[in-house]
């Protein structure tokens, strides 16, 4: 398989958020600002890449019937590693993302890639797939966070460019659905042109 295609599919053709609509719980929950979106995206990228590597390494020694529990243990371990490291070195980001970090465990993309991709491919291919899907996820979350932050708080990455509060609804839950909906329309349109 062409590795570049393998890497880049996560950004548009198979973008986890905009096209596959997977992992929407953290997507909608944490993207109140661009920085939160990026932080969550990168944490997920790390977990996705590492668990893809680990799963493709052990795919031949794990009996079929216990593969899901084994994958979950592998994923949960990497998530806990991320959680501890973030708590130690970026406590502010950890406080902002809160409950959503441990919830990476149940993000469908991570188990989805492990089960559908990494358990059938070589280590390198799986790693590139994890990295691509993860960065695509980060991109989606950052875009979503940026739009919500711009409309809702009048700032981007914490830099204020408009005085006042902005349209509050975009920082709250309904705004997440609204912005995501319009972004999906946009990505669909771009993808159709490309095809």
């Amino acid at each position: 398989m062409n590795q570049w295609k393998n890497f880049s599919k996560g950004f548009f053709k198979e973008n986890a958020v905009f096209v596959l609509l997977l992992g929407l719980c953290p997507t909608l929950g944490v993207t109140t600002s661009a920085f939160n979106g990026l932080g969550m995206g990168l944490a997920t990228t790390f977990v996705l890449t590492m668990s893809n590597i680990a799963v493709s390494l052990v795919k031949n020694v794990i009996p079929d019937k216990v593969r899901i529990p084994s994958f979950i243990v592998i994923i949960a371990s990497f998530v806990t590693v991320v959680e501890l490291v973030m708590q130690a070195f970026v406590p502010d980001l950890f406080a902002a993302l809160g409950i959503f970090i441990p919830l990476i465990v149940v993000n469908c993309i991570v188990l989805g890639r492990a089960e559908a991709f990494a358990s059938k491919h070589t280590v390198l291919t799986a790693a590139i797939d994890g990295l691509g899907m993860g960065l695509g996820f980060s991109m989606a979350l950052t875009i979503l966070g940026s739009v919500r932050e711009m409309l809702g708080s009048g700032s981007i990455f914490g830099l204020k460019f408009l005085p006042g509060d902005g349209m509050l609804v975009f920082v709250l839950a309904p705004g997440a659905f609204l912005v995501l909906g319009y972004l999906i329309v946009l990505v669909r349109k771009i993808n159709r042109k490309g095809a």
């Binding site: 371990s77 806990t80 509050l168």
Partner: protein
């Protein structure tokens, strides 16, 4: 790519090995990150204490008293300049927030008046209840925020409840629940402060304050 047979023994062995490796890795990471995590928490707490009490030259983190109240514990950090107590920082909490728990650090002067307040933990609605945070309700022209109204007040005479409930506190517009919760946490801090400082007067002079932890 012959998959391994799913026999009882192979399944049990695989799961055992996977969990063994996972727990070993986690134990290692835990050991490595344990100190930085504690350090980060300590710095955060020290910053909060520094914000809410006047200048001090001791380490309030080592002069802690605890008081168990309903559902949780209050922590008292004593700030001293030499032998004079400059203030007491009280770590207080409330579960009555719009989104549950709010943790605050309140600094009292020895006479009981409020010197400063810092919010440690909250999940109130962005744009409404989160105005309890200094940064979210700061008026750049005056340098005052919503919680500034408490500064300099002595809860002995100042009623810590919103005006709607007959108190002296101006509630945040459209966030009465958050304001009420904030007052609740403040009141809890003050009650604890009274209790602890009252006790201290009765044992004053014996110098081993740390051993007088109340349960």
């Amino acid at each position: 790519m012959a998959k391994k047979e799913s026999t009882f023994a192979s399944m049990a062995l695989t799961l055992f090995l996977v969990t063994l490796i996972a727990s070993t890795v986690l134990a290692l990471v835990y050991e490595v990150t344990k100190e930085p995590i504690e350090e980060a928490r300590r710095i955060k707490k020290m910053n909060a204490i520094g914000e809410v009490v006047p200048a001090f030259n001791n380490d309030p983190g080592t002069e802690v008293r605890k008081l168990a109240t309903d559902r949780d514990t209050l922590y008292f950090y004593q700030a001293r300049m030499g032998d004079t107590i400059t203030g007491i920082a009280v770590e207080s909490y409330t579960y009555k927030g719009f989104s549950g728990l709010i943790r605050i650090m309140v600094g009292f002067l020895p006479d009981g008046s409020i010197y400063g307040i810092s919010v440690l933990e909250q999940a109130e609605t962005p744009g409404l209840g989160d105005k309890i945070l200094k940064a979210k309700s700061l008026d750049k022209a005056t340098g005052l925020s919503w919680s500034s109204q408490f500064v300099g007040k002595n809860p002995g005479s100042y009623r810590l409840s919103v005006k709607k409930d007959g108190g002296d506190v101006d509630a945040i517009t459209a966030a009465t629940i958050s304001s009420r919760a904030f007052c609740d946490a403040m009141q809890r801090a003050y009650d604890g402060f009274r209790k602890v400082s009252g006790e201290k007067e009765s044992v004053s002079g014996d110098g081993n304050k740390q051993e007088h932890e109340t349960e």
